[in-house]
């Protein structure tokens, strides 16, 4: 199955092996005609109206602003509805360095997002700590706190790269299974079970 989005030719994508593996894993046992069609309909809707959370800690956030402005214009893709409240957003673009003090805040934002929710680790800092690898106060990659769907390298990534990353995300959403089968929510539960939030004593 050739998964693509926004009329981009399948060959133009960089890592098709990953998505093919994902499809094989999810649909290995075959799909029911009715359920499969329903899945397709739901995923079509979801993958075309991704609403980002307005979340930026540093430099990458400014490129995200450029992405929203007229030149790169993410409104072409249906992503321009940047929400300030996590309750209304579909995904977090972790744009910038995450430090120790920010870690609980980011985790709480993630927990507040309504299902289905996705995360893009945007920029070298969010991917791995980046230039601040030797710092005492930087979290070495936001995947230590929240599960990440797409990793986007660059310092900061160009707006074009951000478009590509969100398109990769929408491609991933297109093959998701909503009805039956093990979908990504199970993986998410596993992650959250492995990364529990300690009890808070107020």
């Amino acid at each position: 199955m050739e998964v693509t989005t926004k009329s981009m030719p399948y060959e133009a994508w960089k890592d098709n092996e990953y998505i093919e593996k994902l499809v094989a894993e999810l649909q290995g046992a075959g799909t029911n005609v009715i359920v499969g069609s329903l899945d397709k309909l739901i995923n079509w809707g979801r993958s075309n109206s991704l609403w980002p959370l307005t979340f930026a800690t540093s430099c990458c956030g400014i490129e995200f602003v450029s992405l929203g402005a007229a030149r790169f214009d993410m409104a072409r893709f249906g992503w321009e509805v940047a929400r300030s409240s996590p309750r209304q957003a579909d995904f977090i673009m972790v744009a910038g360095t995450i430090v120790h003090r920010m870690a609980p805040v980011l985790r709480r934002l993630y927990d507040q997002l309504a299902e289905p929710k996705y995360v893009i680790a945007c920029g070298a800092c969010a991917v791995s700590g980046g230039p601040f690898k030797k710092s005492y106060h930087v979290v070495m990659g936001c995947d230590q706190i929240i599960p990440v769907d797409v990793y986007l390298p660059g310092c900061p990534p160009r707006p074009e790269a951000m478009i590509y990353a969100i398109m990769q995300l929408s491609r991933k959403i297109k093959v998701e299974r909503f009805f039956g089968g093990v979908n990504r929510q199970e993986k998410q539960k596993e992650f959250l079970a492995a990364h529990p939030i300690e009890e808070v004593n107020d």
């Binding site: 540093s58 430099c59 007229a70 030149r71 430090v99 106060h137 300690e198």
Partner: protein, 542 residues
């Protein structure tokens, strides 16, 4: 300058003064309280602008270096105060003399554990209350297991500590409340679209009126000063891009100048001109983005698209020459990384052609708009005295009538030869801060137009030894960043790595003063005032 030194030696016979090249006074810690008072209030000295407090750990002793400037005579002075006690180091606070010292001292306390006796708010600034150790001390344990990443909510406290000395000279800690017991405290941030990054205001309100704001920072504290101590001089440069990412060029310029001064490197005229051109281009780009985001904060989303049009044009020019849109890493020790792109001159001229029309358009759309006027005029007034007291430099300081442009007061590079006006307004409100930035775009364009036709031929980078070692000593340089006076304090022990590299950000005072300006105004004006100060959070947190 001689008279200042004479006055100090007359009043304090114990003080030693050395030229460093800024005069540095060293006094025993017991006399610092009295000296500080004289420096601030003695009419012969009158140092009213506290540039920064540099915390230091010299292994055998701890201490602070205070950089002071007189806004009347433009004289500079630094004072070195040390204490030999590593367990419980303490120095007298100067927060009653310079308002901004409250925050600067908290920063030193956070990094070095030096207690400032008499500071009313002795809490940590960037790190949490449970953080173990003081990171900038030389014996700090960096093992991540000591301070692990946690997803547990940070422990909060409503109390702060005031240290005083009793009759026997012992330290006495006294718990104080940050807010009154029955204050209604609203939490704004860190995830808020109008705080310009991850900054948090704990706001005590009385109805709609703001009573007090506790500015809570550190949500993007990356420990750049500590990392720099582990890297060689050329490696430290790229962090300057990631502080205030709009002032990447001026900040680079500052660190390069400091290192070049220390190493005795003379750079070519061509490199000087290229650096100034880049500084001014980034100033235009920065102010354009400020105008766009500020108007967006106030509800005029359209302006963002208009101002980003110019910014994108500048980014294209930069990209052709520097190879990146934002984190350029272009200036290097000895000059610049690579030569200008072949069509640089044509591109810049095309930019200069469109700028006047664009500014006219901004004025038409926004400045004269009645809603904008009502929201900005008379809001968040900051007097000249307060601006100096709180060290508010840059466009925000100039909007309060304080002529603090480093390009004019202490010209560096080739600024002395250039013709441009320092934009100063006297109203001190949000509208003035907005207009100063708008006018500075014109002045920057004027500087660029003087240089663009006379870029001298020559080498863009002089030869610099591969392994760069600086002589033992300390240096302090300031430049005019896009948001104010940016300074670098560099201390070398003769090695290839800096012993201490202190970054003096203009945005830290700009955020700290929010509490002072907003008191008594309506909570809706907090966004107007905060936006007009134009702070960049990674710059203040470092």
């Amino acid at each position: 300058m001689a008279t200042i030194q004479e006055t100090i030696t007359r009043l304090f016979p114990d003080a030693t003064i050395e030229q460093n090249p800024i005069a540095q006074v060293s006094v025993p810690a017991q006399q610092w309280h009295k000296l500080a008072y004289e420096l601030r209030h003695n009419p012969e000295l009158d140092f009213d602008f506290l540039v920064t407090i540099v915390g230091m750990d010299w292994a055998d002793k701890m201490g602070c270096i205070y950089y002071l400037t007189s806004t009347k005579t433009n004289a500079h002075l630094s004072v070195k105060v040390t204490t030999a006690d590593r367990e419980n180091p303490s120095i007298d606070s100067v927060s009653h003399l310079w308002a901004i010292a409250t925050i600067f001292e908290r920063e030193v306390y956070d990094f070095f554990g030096i207690i400032f006796v008499g500071n009313p708010d002795m809490r940590r600034l960037f790190l949490s209350i449970d953080w173990k150790g003081y990171p900038l001390r030389k014996d700090y344990d960096e093992n991540p297991e000591v301070n692990p990443v946690t997803t547990e909510n940070e422990r909060q406290t409503d109390f702060t500590t005031l240290y005083t000395r009793d009759a026997y000279g012992k330290l006495v800690a006294e718990e104080k409340r940050v807010f009154e017991p029955d204050d209604f405290v609203v939490n704004i941030g860190p995830q808020h679209p109008a705080t310009h990054g991850v900054l948090r205001f704990r706001t005590a309100v009385d109805g709609e009126t703001i009573k007090k704001i506790d500015v809570y920072m550190g949500y993007i504290h990356r420990g750049i000063e500590k990392i720099c101590e582990k890297l060689t001089y050329p490696q430290t440069l790229h962090f300057m891009d990631r502080l205030d990412y709009f002032s990447a060029h001026p900040y680079h310029h500052c660190l390069c100048m400091t290192i070049e001064q220390a190493a005795g490197i003379e750079i070519s005229r061509r490199a000087q001109v290229i650096r100034v051109l880049m500084d001014e281009l980034s100033r235009i780009a920065s102010h354009c983005l400020f105008i766009g985001t500020y108007c967006m904060d106030l509800g005029a989303t359209t302006m963002l698209f208009y101002t980003l049009r110019v910014r994108e044009q500048i980014l294209d020019i930069m990209e052709k020459t520097c190879g990146a849109r934002m984190t350029f890493n272009y200036e290097c020790i000895g000059g610049v990384m690579q030569d200008l792109a072949p069509d640089f001159v044509d591109d810049v001229k095309a930019l200069l052609d469109v700028i006047p029309g664009n500014i006219k358009e901004y004025n038409k759309i926004f400045t004269g708009n009645v809603i904008a006027k009502n929201r900005m005029e008379g809001v968040g007034r900051l007097s000249r005295e307060d601006a100096i007291d709180w060290s508010i430099t840059g466009p925000s300081g100039r909007a309060s009538g304080w002529a603090c442009d480093v390009r004019k007061t202490d010209p560096y590079s080739i600024y002395q030869e250039l013709e441009f006006d320092e934009v100063v307004r006297t109203e001190g409100d949000a509208m003035a801060r907005f207009k100063v930035r708008l006018d500075e775009i014109t002045q920057s364009a004027r500087i660029i137009s003087q240089l663009i036709d006379n870029i001298p031929e020559g080498e863009y980078c002089v030869k610099v030894p591969k392994v760069l070692k600086l002589p033992v000593g300390s240096w302090f340089r300031t430049v005019e960043g896009c948001r104010g006076t940016f300074g670098i304090y560099l201390e070398s022990d003769g090695n290839t790595k800096p012993y201490r590299l202190k970054i003096v950000p203009p945005c830290l005072p700009a955020a700290a003063v929010v509490d002072h300006i907003t008191r008594g105004s309506k909570i809706a004006d907090l966004i107007t005032i905060g936006g007009s100060m134009d702070y960049i959070v990674p710059d203040m947190d470092r």
